[in-house]
């Protein structure tokens, strides 16, 4: 299908979804609207324009003001590189020696300039879009720790320095919850998503997930739920199925499934407990795929995910990469409208059922 054909097809399927069901991908969206990542990051007017155009052109709403993956690391002194276009990265983690930890722990998060700036951005956005809801992302404990202390040291700490590692992990959670309190004081609570890429089975493995990640995730979930008045959702990148038995004990509202995992397996195993989100491949499909690849993958995801007992939301398996085309965003939205039409919790949507019925009729004819 060409982009022109897609646009004509889209007219047949009117908007029916709520704001919560849509992709909130700022960096990739900023890129589509002709802004660099740095412009979006540094200039609140650009940020506001991205949200405005996202609403006008894609009908996607919703605000976010929280701790992105590297925000806490930056707040406590890790050196971060912010490219003009692209995702920021840690250049020099601050905690190379545990003797520095007591000093770091003296920092008051509620007076930390990085946290205050993040909160201020949320205040500015909310002022510009008072009708939109505002949510806060946070990074998971093991991910935060790995951006504050070099990841290879952290991994060795699991055997050589477990007590110090636990001190660090607990501190990251307390610090994160302090931001949630700042957020709740300002906005009165809201939704939250925990993103924890380093906790995946590929890096940490099941044994260390159980020992060092899961207990602190439970502590974080409890703190966020109490502070924000809602259970958070969670996303762990990469392979997670070896962790699912443990993850089922987390009192979260939703689980966003990475594209490395099988969505149908997640539906059967995790669906009875959590709402599920996922898992269109961000790189092979959204960034590098054709319009038809995006549509077909979305359709398969809806088929595999929609019968999840606690509900299913079509989403990408991880962050949408910068450079993803407008055409592919539109294809995603088109597929969500076409195949997600008549969505019913725990059941295949009418969009899928009717197409299957039509195919049967066509074949008989």
């Amino acid at each position: 299908m060409t982009y022109e054909e897609l646009k004509k097809e889209m007219e047949k399927y009117p908007e029916t979804m709520s704001a919560g069901e849509r992709m909130q991908k700022y960096e990739a969206m900023a890129n589509i609207f002709g802004y660099t990542t740095a412009q979006w990051r540094n200039d609140v007017k650009v940020h506001i324009d991205v949200i405005k155009r996202r609403q006008e052109e894609f009908n996607i709403g919703g605000l976010a003001s929280g701790l992105r993956l590297r925000t806490m690391a930056q707040a406590v002194g890790s050196e971060i590189y912010f490219p003009e276009v692209g995702i920021d990265r840690v250049i020099k983690p601050v905690l190379t020696d545990y003797s520095m930890l007591p000093e770091l722990m003296k920092d008051n998060p509620k007076k930390n300039p990085v946290f205050l700036a993040v909160l201020q951005r949320g205040i500015d956005l909310k002022m510009a879009f008072p009708e939109m809801g505002i949510a806060m992302p946070v990074a998971g404990p093991f991910t935060n720790a790995s951006l504050i202390r070099p990841v290879e040291m952290i991994l060795r700490d699991t055997v050589r320095n477990p007590e110090k590692l636990n001190d660090l992990l607990k501190w990251t959670v307390d610090y994160t919850i302090a931001y949630a309190e700042m957020f709740a004081d300002e906005f009165g609570g809201g939704g939250c998503t925990i993103c924890d890429p380093i906790s995946c089975a590929d890096i940490l493995g099941k044994r260390n997930y159980r020992k060092f990640s899961h207990p602190w995730l439970e502590y974080l979930v409890e703190g966020l739920t109490q502070t924000l008045g809602k259970k958070p959702g969670i996303h762990i990148c990469g392979k997670t199925s070896p962790l699912w038995d443990d993850m089922l004990k987390l009192k979260v509202s939703s689980f966003s499934v990475d594209n490395m995992e099988n969505l149908a397996d997640a539906r059967d195993k995790m669906g009875p407990v959590f709402g599920l989100v996922g898992n269109v491949a961000p790189v092979d499909v959204m960034l590098n795929g054709t319009i038809d690849d995006v549509i077909e993958t979305c359709k398969q995801c809806i088929i595999n995910g929609s019968e999840a007992e606690n509900g299913y939301t079509l989403g990408t398996g991880c962050q949408v990469p910068i450079g993803t085309s407008r055409e592919n965003f539109d294809a995603f939205i088109f597929a969500a409208r076409k195949y997600g039409r008549g969505a019913r919790k725990g059941m295949l949507p009418l969009g899928i059922v009717e197409e299957a019925a039509n195919e049967v009729v066509m074949n008989k004819a």
Partner: protein
């Protein structure tokens, strides 16, 4: 006094069990007893690392375990290496240039691949992270490499891999050097699309792919 076999077994076990502190003493004991350093490396240290790889394949060991095993292996190598005779260089070993492509500094995966490749007997030239694309080509020419291995975690830096392949073509040396790519956003499909020779999902698998591409038994 311990026999050679007993000491080799002990060295292998210490690597496998991540004992990076006492392994130096055992290696000293092995050398003082007059046993061959190369045998110590291959049948002691590397044997332990190979056992760790098998456990990784069976999902009993994880990245953390491989790192700690490699700490023990390198602690042992520090003792044994100086006792290798001068002509016991890697000789026929295949050479591979490895690095994280320009614009990216995430290197834990690359480091792990390097460790496993060294364990498997490849001579590795590590360019580190955030490596300018030309450096891959220059280094490969300088050392007459059999293989270039590139890694990235970022989608924004993935196209650099294709550029390196193009540079190899421009210089007329693409056919004489195999190219492998890896990293979280990379897939077999992406590797095929950019014309790389190989892709692997993890460090242990990378060695198997590298061996196949370089015709190593």
């Amino acid at each position: 006094m311990a026999t050679k076999e007993e000491l080799l077994q002990k060295m292998s076990d210490m690597v496998f069990e991540m004992e990076d502190e006492e392994i130096a003493d055992v290696c000293e004991e092995y050398i003082e007893a007059g046993y061959d350093a190369l045998d110590g490396i291959l049948h002691g240290l590397v044997d332990g690392m190979n056992r760790a790889s098998e456990m990784y394949d069976q999902e009993e060991y994880f990245v953390t375990d491989l790192l700690l095993c490699s700490d023990a292996m390198y602690a042992g190598l520090d003792v044994l290496r100086p006792h290798l005779p001068e002509d016991a260089s890697v000789g026929e070993a295949k050479k591979a240039v490895i690095g994280v492509v320009e614009g990216d500094t995430h290197d834990i995966g690359k480091n792990l691949v390097k460790i496993m490749m060294e364990t498997a007997g490849f001579e590795m030239f590590d360019l580190g992270r955030d490596v300018p694309l030309d450096s891959f080509v220059e280094k490969a020419k300088e050392v007459d490499a059999d293989l270039i291995m590139m890694s990235t975690l970022m989608t924004t830096t993935m196209p650099g891999m294709k550029e390196v392949i193009n540079k190899l073509k421009e210089q007329g040396i693409r056919d004489s050097i195999k190219v492998m790519v890896g990293g979280s956003p990379i897939s077999q499909k992406y590797a095929d699309d950019i014309g790389a020779d190989g892709y692997s999902r993890n460090a242990v698998e990378a060695v198997e792919v590298a061996k196949r591409l370089c015709g190593v038994e």
